[in-house]
Symmetry: C2
Subunit: 152 residues, 2 copies
Amino acid sequence: MLRENTDLQLRRALQSSGQRFTEQRAAVYRYLASTDIHPTADEVFLAVRSDLDGISLATVYKSLETLVGCGLAVKLSYSDSSARYDGRMDPHYHSRCLACGSVTDIPGEVAGSEIQSLSGKATGFQVIGYSLELTGYCTTCVPEGGPGPIHA
Amino acid sequence: MLRENTDLQLRRALQSSGQRFTEQRAAVYRYLASTDIHPTADEVFLAVRSDLDGISLATVYKSLETLVGCGLAVKLSYSDSSARYDGRMDPHYHSRCLACGSVTDIPGEVAGSEIQSLSGKATGFQVIGYSLELTGYCTTCVPEGGPGPIHA
DNA sequence: ATCCTTGCAAAGCATTTGCAGTCAC
DNA sequence: GTGACTGCAAATGCTTTGCAAGGAT
């Protein structure tokens, strides 16, 4: 996406929630919208520092949280290590490598009927959204001599 | 499940991975297998302390990690706060409340065809498992005057 | 001019680790 | 008896926060 477009999109999202457009937030969002590596806060910090060399890690954290609050990004949390952020808002799922922890996109949507059927069983629960994720081994981590040990 | 059964199950699982059966691990597993509140490590610690008043939080963490390693428990991680543990190994999904953070079980399984279709799109990725979770508001947290703000 | 945002450093919190004593095997 | 496990306390690492200076509206 063109830089002007992401900036405009950000400006609108911030305005509608009464927040201000800043270079720091723009740089963070620009990077997040341009990559599909689902970076950690620290990775965003390192990447963004080449544009804005004065930016601090704390500001990156704050900016990421702002983006999540605006609906421009999604925060992904896993057992191991730190949170990852996803700035791609088109419908897709994730596959996560159990060996290296990398997260990869899978385009597509699960049939709504599945979700509805599940929602029906969640008595009294007001469903807002759902998430689906595959776990396994990515192309570079897949064990050579066949599948490794399978943990349920 | 009867206490003798959970203990035996734990003993076998530990033995087959070359680890020892201890009162601490037994108490943690007994509690985890008996509840469906998906407790945090701290909640497990508080609950188990009534049986074994000398147990330390560090030991609870170590025991939980051991159980996960044996396949007797699953660790659930979310953006907010601390990890939760699930000791129920029958097929089910989770619904998580965006307001209070509680995690509730939903029995059932998603049609395998859905997962297979998704797996097919994850080129080169070796799928081991998957997880599906609903997010929304639980019965006690559901907003009075209709749905609250929906965040994608 | 107002008050939101930044950057810095310090604090916070969940989780992990080193180590000596203890216990399961 | 041996090696694994516990409990304690300190350490680690990610994330958040308080505050004064700076910047967007």
